[in-house]
């Protein structure tokens, strides 16, 4: 499997080349176009219970689609729902990424996806909900963001503060705590930041340049209300 990002920027697509019998699993609905040699299968990753728990708990899609090059090599074009960048990550079996539920676009066959329960405070206050995706295994992982994607590299014990709704993914060697944005509660709320995540290295944190929740609130004012 080889991947290539087309039209980098706000409206990218990924071209995935598959050799015969290779597969790629993608978020359901992510396929834009494919060679005639590709078959689309719907698959419940991790079995029925695994899929159910992922759907119920993290709000991710119940089914992933599996695109299989069953009748010879071919290519697949994949695109996310929201405008925003795409990033390719290589998983080598030892590194793992925690991904917020809308961040996953596609992954190679060897990529393993599971729902993971966060600690209580992180789940309640972190803004990603109580469950996030833990993605490990081997092969290429394709993530998408809302807006541009920005990589923050942290050395051991180096810290960085991120507004929680801008999170896309982070490595499992990175820890984080939820804190107030300012020293006082009033200032935290009035600054418009509220709660932030203090990340501590080593590892990598991917953030998105736009906040989907804020964008939703902004766009709501233009939607005519039917009486």
């Amino acid at each position: 499997m080889k991947c290539e990002i087309l039209y980098p920027g706000a409206f990218p697509m990924v071209r995935v080349y598959l050799n015969e019998a290779e597969t790629v699993k993608a978020e359901s609905g992510a396929m834009v176009a494919a060679s005639p040699t590709i078959d689309i299968e719907s698959k419940m990753e991790g079995g029925f219970l695994g899929a159910l728990s992922r759907k119920m708990l993290s709000g991710e899609k119940f089914f992933f689609q599996t695109l299989r090059a069953s009748r010879g090599a071919g290519e697949v074009l994949l695109a996310p729902t929201v405008p925003g960048e795409i990033v390719l990550l290589d998983l080598d079996g030892i590194n793992e990424y925690m991904v917020q539920k809308d961040g996953f676009l596609a992954g190679a066959e060897g990529v393993k996806i599971e729902s993971k329960m966060q600690s209580f405070t992180r789940g309640l206050l972190g803004g990603e909900g109580f469950f996030i995706l833990k993605i490990g295994g081997t092969g290429q992982l394709i993530l998408n963001s809302f807006g541009a994607i920005h990589k923050i590299e942290l050395k051991p014990n180096e810290e960085y503060i991120v507004d929680n709704s801008h999170l896309v993914a982070w490595t499992s060697t990175t820890t984080y705590n939820i804190e107030k944005a300012s020293s006082g509660w009033i200032a935290s709320l009035t600054s418009g930041e509220g709660l932030v995540c203090r990340f501590r290295g080593p590892g990598v944190v991917y953030i998105q340049s736009r906040n989907p929740g804020s964008f939703g609130n902004w766009i709501r004012q233009f939607i005519p209300v039917s009486e």
Binding site: G93, I94, F120, K155, T173, T175, G201, P202
Partner: protein, 377 residues
């Protein structure tokens, strides 16, 4: 050389996400071997000079660090097998660190579980409270609704309803109903409501009351009733629904938690918005059986206080009970009319005898006026 990686190494000159490497343990220390394409070089690190902590997102990884400055290296071990092997091989000097690391993990897990446990406990507790104590919560919340709110709310629905109906503006029927209402309202001590009664042209044999004291009587009821006292009985029952705030109780129950929250936060607009969603459902709101019985009992006392002959109310139920034959009591929110009449007779018997005062209008005349105003079909 080409082993599968089992650890990640961090440090200057290494990728930020960590350089995958293969770690093996011996009695003296730890051997770090690079995997294919890794910028690391093979290295042996003695246990002496190493420090160990717990790390990673869930404090479940063993973090081994050594060196200082630019040559400082940190290795994250994740696999349980490898962590156990490390603990076996490590000398006693490192055990203190290890124990501290293990203790950190245990504490993190413990607080994690305790928090989840208490959260589940709170949710279950709230669930039980709502299940068993919902009536108490509703009563408590309703008692906190100012009469002013009820009035605003009732009026909104009242106007919505009346705008779609033919309302009698004047005439003997209207003045008769007003006379009944005034006589009863005068007997209510500390009445927070101003009752407003409208007579609506409709063949429906019914009357209803909205929160805040807005009452609608249908002409169908007035034509069916054999005396003014019968209508007064139904009115008294409806006025008592208002006084006991039954409508608000039903509404708060239907709106549920959202209403409780808006009451507690003093958000009147929110509550009215919620009520409007229900719209005219409020007008056809079914009361519970207990509420009906309560309104009956307090209704007959109100009639008694206003010196209106209370047997009109009883007679009306008795006549209704003739239509009840096929109804099964269990399925109805209204107690059977016959049972209601019996209950009311008992209540009445307990009250001292008094002579009632007749109304100033003549009932036959009132009914005749309705017959004349009925639109021709």
């Amino acid at each position: 050389m080409n082993q599968a990686p089992n650890a990640l190494c961090f440090g200057d000159g290494l990728p930020a996400a960590g350089a995958p490497c293969h770690v093996t343990l011996s009695a003296e220390g730890l051997r770090l071997e690079p995997v294919e394409g890794s910028p690391l070089s093979e290295e042996f690190v003695a246990f002496v000079g190493m420090s160990v902590t717990a790390g990673g997102l869930d404090h479940d990884q063993l973090v081994v660090s050594w060196g200082a400055g630019t040559s400082a290296r940190t290795v994250y071990l994740k696999e349980p097998v490898l962590i156990v092997a490390f603990r076996r091989a490590a000398p006693s000097t490192l055990l203190a660190h290890l124990e501290r690391a293990a203790e950190q993990v245990r504490r993190a897990r413990h607080s994690h579980r305790a928090l989840w446990g208490s959260a589940v406990g709170v949710v279950v507790g709230l669930g039980l409270m709502v299940w068993f104590g919902s009536d108490l919560i509703v009563e408590w919340a309703v008692a906190r609704i100012p009469a002013q709110w009820e009035q605003t709310l009732g009026e909104t629905v009242y106007q919505d309803f009346l705008s779609k109906e033919t309302v009698l503006k004047e005439g003997p029927a209207v003045s008769a109903v007003q006379e009944m209402t005034q006589r009863m309202a005068a007997q209510i001590p500390n009445n927070p409501y101003t009752f407003r009664v409208s007579v609506v042209q409709s063949p429906v044999v019914n009357a209803f009351a909205l929160p805040g004291g807005y009452v609608v009587v249908f002409t169908g009821l007035m034509k069916k009733a054999e005396s003014g006292e019968e209508v007064a009985g139904v009115l008294s029952h409806e006025l008592n629904h208002v006084l006991q705030r039954h409508g608000m109780e039903r509404m708060v129950k239907m709106l549920g938690l959202a209403a409780v929250v808006s009451i507690l936060s003093g958000d009147q607009q929110g509550l009215i918005g919620l009520a409007r969603q229900l719209g005219l459902e409020l007008a056809t709101l079914k009361f519970g059986r207990e509420q009906e019985t309560e309104a009956d009992v307090t209704g007959i006392r109100l009639l008694y206080d206003a010196r209106i002959a209370p047997d009109g109310m009883i007679r009306f139920f008795e006549r209704l009970s003739e239509k009840d034959k096929e109804r099964v009591e269990l399925f109805s929110s209204h107690p059977m009319s016959a049972a209601r009449a019996k209950r009311l007779k008992e209540e009445l018997a307990a009250l001292p005898k008094q002579t009632s005062e007749p109304f100033t209008f003549e009932w036959k005349g009132v009914q005749d006026s309705l017959g004349a105003s009925e639109p021709k079909q």
